[in-house]
């Protein structure tokens, strides 16, 4: 299963069931377009996709998806089943509730799960720090990937805050990660020296940059 986006496909190869992928975007990267392009890219490859968004409401997300779909080659794909849900306050238990509802309705929709925004996902219990909250949620998202045997892509905004970045960079539960940032923004280098973490060492697209959906490219400005 590929995302249909050259940059990601080159780095990640195929998305595998049971794996947790993480895409970090700094403030100057338009994350919503990213999510929409990946969602549309994935939908051209297989029949179902679930997208749970915390930051973007249904209208914003639908508009972004529509725009992405319009400029992509997705029109040639067969039946597309997208479960789009806006959860302004979300936590593991709520994500699980949604997944169970999807499975109850039509299991085929749940081929891949996209979740945004990792660092704002709450825990069901009080957590002493946001970093620990992120660490716990990464563990639980990985559980979802294993339990439902699907790839899970967690999107997250990234602040140049080492305390927050560290649990993400150090997490043993993320199989592959990529950080997108503009040339002007400084991103702390992940501590973990893992080949799956792409950061300063890899030539990343800078804003404005292009990502490819199908045969067409979309310029970000």
């Amino acid at each position: 299963m590929k995302t249909g986006i050259d940059t990601l496909d080159c780095m990640w190869g195929s998305l595998e069931s049971g794996n947790l992928y993480c895409i970090g975007c700094t403030a100057r990267v338009k994350r919503i377009k990213f999510i929409a392009n990946i969602a549309v890219g994935l939908l051209t490859k297989q029949s179902g996709l679930a997208l749970i968004s915390l930051d973007y409401n249904r209208t914003e997300m639908t508009d972004a998806l529509r725009e992405s779909y319009r400029t992509s080659s997705a029109a040639t794909a067969g039946k597309l089943s997208l479960w789009l849900e806006h959860q302004p306050i979300t936590a593991y238990s709520l994500i699980q509730d949604t997944l169970q509802r999807i499975v109850y309705r039509d299991k085929k929709i749940l081929q891949v799960l996209l979740v945004d925004n990792l660092i704002k996902i709450r825990t069901d219990f009080h957590c002493s720090s946001q970093g620990m909250c992120v660490a716990a949620n990464l563990y639980l998202l990985k559980m979802i990937a294993k339990e439902y045997k699907i790839p899970v892509i967690a999107f997250t905004e990234l602040y140049p805050d080492k305390a927050l970045l560290q649990p993400i960079a150090d997490s043993e539960y993320i199989d592959k990660m990529i950080i997108f940032h503009s040339g002007q923004e400084r991103v702390p280098k992940p501590v973990r020296a893992d080949a799956n973490i792409f950061s300063d060492g890899v030539k990343l697209p800078e804003i404005p940059f292009e990502i490819y959906v199908g045969k067409e490219s979309i310029k970000y400005v």
């Binding site: 936590a91 593991y92 699980q96 069901d124 957590c127 620990m132 660490a135 639980l140 339990e147």
Partner: protein, 91 residues
């Protein structure tokens, strides 16, 4: 396997069962593990309190690979049956 090891495995299985029993319990356990593992404070006091287990078992639980925790009720029952049988044979 010694009797002690079998008992440890049974206790570990109880923890796995607890973990899989409820989504909120799973969430709480993951949170406690994240907090206490990151702080590197065995004997995982809060976790032990929550799961009603010994620090040794809690330490063992933190080392379990994630996909070994994902068990169905049936798998748990089968594993328990197997361990009980081993325990019986050992005794």
């Amino acid at each position: 396997m010694t009797l002690q090891e079998i008992n440890d495995q049974l206790e570990l299985l109880r923890l796995k069962e607890l973990f899989m029993s409820d989504i909120k319990i799973r969430s709480k356990m993951a949170l406690l593990l994240s907090e206490e593992c990151a702080a590197e404070i065995p004997p995982y006091k809060e976790f032990c309190e929550f799961a009603q287990c010994t620090p040794e078992i809690a330490t063992m639980f933190t080392k379990i690979r994630l996909y070994d925790v994902i068990l169905t009720q049936r798998e748990i029952a089968e594993e328990r049956k197997r361990l009980e049988r081993m325990k019986h044979d050992t005794l």
